[in-house]
């Protein structure tokens, strides 16, 4: 039976389901127990599953990831919450040198079924370090898998799929969309976690987005439609591995491609996508792949974030440029 849920609540239910299904699932993080996390994503879980399975940790991200590695070695499936995107860096050493490499180091003898949940992105009027989009740092790291969800249904299923994955998954949650609602059918069957999805058909330009920018892209498509322009919108969903076959197919039809993300453009996901799309659709392209993203600056004070973040207009501007090339 389909329910209407926010992304936040869908994550909460997905986590609960995963914990019911597998006794080895352990949640770890700062303030995730009694408080239920600063975004309440783990609300009620410590009460129902106890302190051994929902662990309020000391204030140390390297500690969270490093002990998660040890728990995984002992057969557990740790799900680590990083409180905000900008606080993942103390754990970076453990993630890049250990989590990502132990499966290869041990030639498969030590799987690392760890999920790293990161609420990411801006637009919530927060202070420094609370609005970042660090996904490229992880997508460039061999050994990790990286996804970003954009809908309640993907949130509900995606978190369960990520937890079930035998590989480490960095799971980006679109923090400013936590409260947006959508339909979830817990009896339905999910799309594969590591696949992209065309979320709106169109003919003129292929627009790619993930996480919080999917909604922006869809809004842009609505606006463009009013001007008679037809945008095909693809929700990338998986950032590593990338699943670009549907994109190539689309771009071969449209001949034009725009990638949108909040992260700074330089070496953001758009760079890789532009390179691959160009390599794979070279003769179909009528314009270079254009990128819309954050500027190459630190995330600005919140009074400036509207200027910093891609919005409907900036997407349309890029669409215009692609059409006019």
């Amino acid at each position: 039976m389909t329910e209407t849920l926010t992304i936040g609540k869908a994550l909460n239910l997905g986590l609960r389901k995963a914990m019911e299904d597998d006794g080895k699932v352990v949640l770890m993080g700062e303030d995730i127990g009694k408080l239920g996390g600063v975004f309440r994503i783990t609300d009620g879980l410590q009460k129902d599953f106890g302190e051994a399975r929902v662990v309020d940790t000391p204030l140390a991200e390297a500690g969270i990831l490093g002990t998660a590695v040890g728990l995984a070695m002992r057969g557990y499936r740790p799900v680590c919450e990083i409180q905000f995107d900008g606080f993942v860096y103390p754990a970076y050493n453990q993630i890049v040198t250990q989590v990502a490499k132990i499966h290869a180091r041990s030639r498969g003898r030590m799987p690392m079924p760890i999920v790293i949940r990161i609420p990411f992105g801006g637009g919530i009027g927060a202070v420094e370090h609370h609005s970042e989009s660090p996904e490229a740092y992880f997508a460039h790291t061999a050994g990790l898998k990286v996804v970003a969800v954009s809908t309640p249904a993907d949130a509900y299923w995606g978190i369960q799929q990520a937890i079930a994955s035998p590989d480490p998954v960095v799971f980006f949650e679109p923090k400013r969309r936590y409260w947006e609602k959508g339909e979830v059918d817990p009896d339905g069957s999910p799309d594969p976690l590591f696949g992209s999805r065309v979320v709106r058909g169109g003919d003129d330009v292929t627009v790619l987005a993930y996480g919080p920018m999917v909604k922006t892209a869809l809004q842009a498509a609505d606006a463009a439609a009013e001007e008679g322009r037809s945008l095909e919108v693809v929700d990338l969903r998986t950032l590593s591995p990338l699943d670009l076959d549907p994109v190539y197919e689309s771009v071969r039809r449209t001949g034009r491609c725009v990638v949108v993300h909040e992260a700074p453009v330089t070496l953001g996901l758009g760079a890789e996508i532009a390179a691959r799309v160009t390599e794979n659709c070279f003769h179909s392209l009528e314009a270079p792949v254009l990128r819309v993203g954050g500027y190459d600056t630190p995330y600005p004070p919140s009074k400036l974030e509207e200027d910093y973040l891609p919005d409907l207009d900036r997407v349309l501007d890029a669409v215009d440029r692609a059409m006019g090339f």
């Binding site: 700062e30 303030d31 127990g33 009694k34 408080l35 239920g36 600063v38 309020d56 940790t57 000391p58 204030l59 140390a60 390297a62 500690g63 900008g86 606080f87 860096y89 103390p90 009027g125 927060a126 202070v127 420094e128 370090h129 609370h130 330089t266 500027y295 190459d296 600056t297 630190p298 600005p300 004070p301 919140s302 009074k303 400036l304 974030e305 200027d307 910093y308 207009d313 900036r314 501007d317």
Partner: protein, 379 residues
């Protein structure tokens, strides 16, 4: 019982009264002013303050609290994005801040509004950060007061490095690094203590143990009193009643003096309580009992100094009324200044990324300007 178990018993000294902490009965707590406002002596720490200074301290405490209350109100009214209240920690901050000498440098977290005050920072320069106008509007060099650091603990290493610079300059200054109880679990904070010890750097770690890191109680971070951490790194640690401005002042002064004299670092644990929420986004009822707060209200840092000043005849009703009036003026100025703060120009974000601007960013800035110009006259 094995030898090891025995040792466990010897070493592990649980936080006295953890959960519902009681100050009395803590033999290792430095106190000069009881919660009732009674002056008491301590064998190691005296204090030499004039009546004028005492009244000054009271004024600091009261004005800082008034500012804090106003800021919380402004946040509730949607004028700040968030506010990190210092309610209950005024004595720890004012005591520490007033212990600093000219030329000493302080490294705050995001909650040290009371220290900012003692360093002469305009409250509006703090408000601008929480309003989202900038990342702190004061000049950290001019005020010898670093900008707020949001990433937990990062500033403790900066403070240590700065202190290594002081050593290299042959200067007789000290550095005061602020941190919270939760921060003591961060690797970087422990590294800061290791470095400070290794280089005998003139830095004092001032930890406000306000009993919580958001929802995590102190016991999650340490099974033994925090000040004992320092001995393991080879330097002294001391626990002071963080709600006693005189004790904090005395202990911090002594530690800074020792640092200036080349005796190396000290760790100060100021035992206090966060009387409000972690920030305005937080809901402490989810993780602590109201009764705990009630107990701590009896140890209020301002009430006890007021009691002392009145009882000892150091200040009279006029004085207190005067401070209250000054507080209201300050609050009005803060409110007005906050509401009138102009939004920054969008180009601001490009202009300070580098000391030497890059061609790429200059290009992005130009595009930004051109793009926004293209909308002009549109509406």
């Amino acid at each position: 019982m094995t030898a090891l178990q025995q040792k466990t018993t010897e070493v592990v000294d649980p936080v006295p009264g953890a959960g519902a902490p009681h100050l009395p009965g803590q033999p290792d707590l430095v106190q000069l002013l009881t919660p009732e406002g009674e002056r008491v002596e301590h064998p190691d720490y005296g204090i030499d303050v004039s009546d004028e200074e005492l009244r000054g301290l009271y004024r600091d405490l009261a004005l800082v609290r008034r500012w804090d209350v106003e800021a919380t109100a402004l946040q509730r009214q949607g004028e700040l994005g968030i506010w990190a209240s210092l309610l209950g920690q005024e004595a720890a901050q004012v005591g520490a801040g007033r212990a600093l000498a000219d030329g000493d440098m302080a490294f705050p977290t995001y909650r040290e509004h009371g220290v900012a005050w003692t360093r002469g920072v305009d409250p509006l320069h703090v408000m601008s950060l929480f309003r989202g106008v900038d990342q702190g509007g004061w000049d950290p060099v001019a005020h010898d007061f670093n900008l707020y650091t949001v990433v937990i603990g990062a500033q403790t290493l900066h403070a240590t490095g700065y202190a290594m610079g002081v050593q290299r300059d042959g200067a007789e200054s000290a550095v005061l690094a602020f941190l919270g109880d939760g921060a003591t679990s961060q690797g970087e904070v422990n590294e800061a203590m290791i470095w400070a010890s290794s280089f005998a750097a003139p830095v004092v770690f001032f930890c406000q143990n306000n009993q919580y890191a958001i929802s995590a109680p102190i016991e999650r971070q340490s099974r033994v009193p925090l000040y004992q951490r320092a001995a393991g790194f080879g330097f002294p640690g001391v626990r002071v009643d963080g709600n006693d401005v005189l004790a904090v002042l005395s202990v911090t002064r002594a530690a800074l003096a020792a640092a200036r004299e080349g005796s190396g670092p000290t760790f100060i644990e100021a035992f206090t309580y966060r009387m409000g929420a972690h920030t305005t986004s937080d809901d402490p009822t989810r993780y602590r009992l109201a009764s705990e707060l009630e107990e701590w209200k009896l140890r209020d840092p301002i009430a006890r100094l007021k009691a002392h000043l009145s009882r000892a005849g150091i200040a009279d009703a006029d004085f207190f009324t005067g401070v209250d009036a000054e507080g209201d003026e300050l609050a009005a100025r803060i409110r007005k200044g906050t509401l009138e703060m102009p939004d920054p120009a969008g180009t601001e974000m490009f202009d300070h990324v580098y000391a030497e601007q890059t061609p790429e960013l200059a290009r992005q800035r130009e595009e930004f300007v051109a793009y926004h110009a293209s909308f002009e006259g549109e509406q």
